[in-house]
């Protein structure tokens, strides 16, 4: 039997996974370093009867996938840096109108045009707070192709489960590193189908009335239930309202449906944590460097471990707190000036023992960058 093993880039792994998860519709705009995703999908989607469109800009790409999602399709867009900034208003619309969609952001150096072809992890906070107004968001990341695949499928699953946009926060190194990918057989990874309403034609359907479990069954545009979708605060029919009680309840619903399921959404990987005295916390391509350091130091008998975060938002604060409590020192390894560092400090009961090993010059973070910090902590000098 033919083994389904590919030798591909991270961007290709993302495409394979999106198709595995049932992607029907993609809208995008060319931008480095995410363009391969659009190129591949322009070829692959029509083969399965799906739709690809290259829109006139980043904003319209985001808007088009929201429109397509409302007709019952699984949708995705992909972008980088400046494009992610442009999509933010429409991402907020998808939050408010509770439209499932997946947004890939292959991070590159910023601010502004920055370093278009270089790696960075500077968009962690933008993923969390990029769109205006109080809200919750789900953001996943990955450090290697196999996890890019798994997290992409998971992104679609979570977006359907919680009726929310999900951001896949990759980075240039993950997107362009070629390595092995084992494509799972159909059924091997669970794929969540859209929850559709069972309300019959002629009976009043409330698109924004959550069930007891908090989920909201949908009805496709073009189907028997006609309702309003708006970015305004709205009642259970989707009609605009500024009634304080309705607004209060909607705000809580939008935030609680995600923050209240943090445990369920949290995904981490643990390496050598059982007896660790030093803990590295990392994510995305930085976690590859962190893992290298850990494996290397373990060979020398040092008690060091790695907590790799696969879900960044909602932040897995409980897991991080528990893990930090068991060690003497924590080093957050990331390619920005401490965006996850601050979250770890907030989560930890002893923020003073949390340090940062980072890289912000466009080059990839190396083991020496981590070791230098480790040596300082160990009192061995820089």
């Amino acid at each position: 039997m033919k083994k389904n093993v590919l030798f591909v880039q991270g961007n290709e792994a993302c495409v394979e996974a999106a198709l595995y998860a049932g992607l029907d519709f993609f809208a995008g705009y060319p931008i480095t370093p995410s363009t391969e995703i659009a190129e591949l999908l322009s070829y692959r989607l029509p083969k399965k009867g799906g739709k690809f469109i290259q829109m006139e800009d980043e904003i319209s790409s985001m808007c088009a996938i929201i429109g397509a999602s409302l007709t019952g399709k699984k949708v995705m867009t992909a972008t980088s840096g400046p494009g992610f900034s442009l999509k933010q208003e429409a991402i907020g619309f998808a939050v408010m109108a509770e439209v499932p969609c997946v947004i890939v952001n292959v991070q590159r150096g910023g601010p502004s045009t920055g370093l278009p072809t270089s790696v960075s992890q500077g968009d962690v906070m933008q993923a969390r707070w990029g769109t205006h107004g109080e809200h919750a968001i789900i953001t996943l990341t990955a450090s290697n192709n196999q996890d890019v695949f798994a997290m992409t499928v998971e992104a679609f699953n979570l977006s359907e489960t919680f009726r929310t946009p999900v951001i896949l926060l990759f980075d240039e190194v993950v997107a362009h590193t070629r390595e092995r990918l084992m494509v799972p057989k159909p059924g091997e990874i669970n794929v969540v189908k859209r929850l559709k309403t069972a309300v019959k034609e002629g009976t009043d359907y409330h698109p924004y009335l959550p069930r007891e479990d908090g989920r909201l069954p949908m009805s496709d545009f073009g189907h028997v239930h006609r309702y309003n979708v708006t970015g305004l605060m709205h009642d259970m029919w989707g009609f605009p309202s500024n009634n304080p009680k309705i607004v209060y309840e909607l705000m809580h619903h939008l935030v609680d449906k995600i923050e209240g399921h943090t445990k369920e959404i949290t995904m981490v990987k643990e390496f050598f944590l059982d007896d660790a005295e030093y803990l590295l916390i990392s994510y995305g391509s930085s976690a590859r460097t962190a893992l290298h350091v850990v494996e290397n130091r373990r060979e020398r008998g040092e008690k060091i471990g790695l907590l790799e975060l696969l879900s960044l938002w909602p932040f897995p604060a409980d897991t991080v707190r528990e893990r930090c409590a068991c060690v003497n020192y924590v080093i957050v390894v990331e390619m920005n000036m401490g965006q996850i560092l601050q979250e770890v400090k907030k989560a930890s009961d002893e923020p003073d023992k949390v340090f940062l090993a980072n890289k912000i010059d466009g080059s990839f973070i190396a083991p020496t960058d981590v070791l230098n910090i480790l040596r300082i902590i160990q009192g061995k000098g820089a």
Binding site: P46, C63, G222, F239
Partner: protein, 267 residues
């Protein structure tokens, strides 16, 4: 069906000011759809932000009230994923051609099967009366207290040169012809544009020496003329109304179906 059967009457009274032209557009749109006999479940109305955009909440179709300027982009996603649906996109002049100008020209270029209705009152009404891309040179607005120095767009010419295969202009005075034009625009296969001059007595009228909504309707009556009329030769300042373009050109979703065929046959 009665007009009432097409509206969500529990959401009335509407938010529009007394004398506003947008209610006339709402009424005409319903009558055009009624005349065409399209089922309510087959119609999706997508709007942006502004007074005009509130139209979709009142209509008993699938309605999507989106963000400022981007209605056509959302509508493109709906149409391409479900080409059998009828897409109607009512927009204001600022919504369609200032913030949304890029999406407008590209939707026209693709000739995607969407009907774009511009409820053109030459002012930003929702925010209290600022000048828009169709405010004429010399007109007054809250952000043009000394008179507007921006030149206005001719939406019809713009739509034509961007590639729209159906382009028309009408006014809220000419209701009978508005209904006919909307019927043709909605039935048209491809991107259709209807520029509807619609009065805003509250914000445009008071600052520009119109005593009332009736005054403004009279202005539409006396300052417009059917396309190619002799009046236009005598008075070149008259605004032409009617259907400027009605062409058969390949529609975008049909073109994409060919791509699907090609892709599933090949390699």
């Amino acid at each position: 069906m009665a007009v009432r059967d097409y509206i969500r009457d529990r959401f009335f009274p509407h938010i529009w000011c007394p004398g506003c032209g947008h209610g006339i557009v709402l009424g005409s749109l319903i009558r055009a759809i009624e005349n065409l006999g399209i089922k309510k479940n087959d119609i999706v109305v997508v709007s942006g932000i502004g007074c005009s955009s509130r139209i979709c909440g009142y209509l008993d179709f699938h309605t999507l009230h989106t963000i400022h300027g981007r209605a056509l982009a959302f509508a493109t996603g709906v149409k391409l994923s479900r080409p059998e649906l009828t897409l109607i996109v009512p927009m204001g002049d600022g919504d369609a051609l200032a913030i949304g100008g890029n999406h407008f020209i590209h939707a026209a270029r693709r000739n995607i099967g969407i009907t774009a209705i511009i409820m053109n009152n030459s002012i930003y009404g929702m925010t209290g009366g600022q000048y828009s891309p169709s405010t004429e040179y010399g007109d007054f607005a809250t952000t043009a207290p000394y008179g507007n120095i921006d030149r206005s767009f001719d939406f019809v010419k713009l739509a034509m040169s961007a590639g729209a295969s159906f382009v028309a202009r009408t006014t809220t005075y000419h209701v009978t012809s508005m209904i006919k034009i909307l019927e043709k625009a909605i039935a048209h296969k491809g991107f259709s544009v209807v520029d509807i001059l619609s009065q805003c007595p509250t914000y445009f009228g008071v600052r520009n020496k119109f005593a009332s909504a009736v005054d403004m309707l009279n202005y539409y009556k006396t300052n417009t003329t059917p396309i190619g009329s002799k009046e236009k030769e005598k008075n070149p300042d008259l605004i032409e109304r009617g259907i400027f373009v009605q062409d058969q050109r390949p529609e975008y979703c049909d073109e994409y179906d060919k791509i699907i065929k090609k892709a599933s046959e090949g390699v």
